[in-house]
Symmetry: C2
Subunit: 207 residues, 2 copies
């Protein structure tokens, strides 16, 4: 299958996942989101698991692309831009609440589906390592304090992942976590004297 | 139904949930974990949803009890003890990895099951408000810096919830998040000059 139909199938899987959730999702639901018959879809993908695996593969690549081109004059601005990408409540294309609910179902399948766990780990790695690199760069630039980049990145990923789980489970607003993460960076990562940092005169004047 | 049988049914529901996961769980699976027949169970609980709702009710009460009697000489010690309760990888009774996988499935049902969302919100509220009270007390005691207790508590809950989701989805070790949360308290919440805080001579000598 060439790349274009693969992309079509990935998008159809995503739409079907949002519409039906994971547990009830069938090959027919996914075929219904394409111009393909169920038989044609089966020709390339044996099971729902294969389609989901392909979708999760493409999700990791999608994150890689989006997080590689973050806008910003320094590492701190690029880290805030990463939060825009990773904690945004809106998107033109996807039905976000349904998407994150379905993703939580898929995550709960990971202990039973090694193929899912591998791809979810790839997504986790992409986000975590991008944050780690930004923190390393920020320390080199003198923008951030001399924190442990690996540990700090993992902590930030815990916060982002927790925000989505709480959003689905108890309706906790993503924007609230987004604001807390921005404050965490300003209060705890910024080097003394940098914008938002504890020694910043603009900040102190505003208080 | 008197309290003792209710407790029996709650424990049976928990065991059955761990053994079968949420999606595949049947009334029969739960009855099999008790001395009751499926018919006797149906006499008190119409559906699997009713049993799960009762189980989630009791989970909120369980957290309330455990988090009300935290050991520690001050608020900081009691906050670390709360992390022991909320981020412990082991327990005598429950099959923990299976339990948290099943809980993630239940969380993913919350958008479709208002009864679950209500009870999950109660659990979230118990943990968050306990942390908030500990931070308020710590500020009054002079142990913690003058942070925003509500926002900080919500941030810590994001971290705890994220740790469990990552543990289930990608096998991220809970102990790692536990260590990062301890460090977060020591580095960012402790008042200057307190143990673990930035001005602590013992800490500086060790570095």
């Amino acid at each position: 299958m060439s790349d274009e139909p693969r992309e079509t199938v990935v998008r159809a899987t995503c739409r079907a996942l949002c519409a039906h959730g994971y547990a009830n999702l069938t090959m027919q639901d996914i075929a219904d989101e394409t111009d393909l018959s169920k038989a044609a879809l089966h020709y390339h993908y044996d099971t729902k698991r294969d389609l989901l695996t392909t979708f999760l593969d493409s999700l990791a690549s999608w994150y890689e692309g989006r997080l590689d081109e973050l806008p910003g004059a320094d590492a701190a601005e690029r880290l805030h831009a990463l939060f825009d990408e990773c904690l945004s409540a809106e998107d033109d294309e996807a039905d976000y609440p349904a998407f994150h609910t379905a993703m939580l179902e898929v995550k709960a399948q990971a202990p039973y589906e090694e193929a899912y766990r591998e791809r979810l780990t790839a997504v986790d790695d992409v986000v975590r390592s991008r944050i780690e690199t930004l923190i390393e760069t920020g320390i080199e630039e003198g923008v951030f304090r001399d924190v442990d980049p690996e540990a700090t990145a993992s902590f930030v990923v815990d916060v982002i992942v927790g925000a989505y789980t709480r959003n689905v489970a108890v309706g906790h607003p993503l924007e609230e976590t987004r604001a807390l993460l921005d404050a965490y960076v300003d209060d705890h990562l910024m080097a003394q004297g940098r914008e938002g940092g504890e020694g910043d005169p603009r900040r102190e004047a505003a208080e």
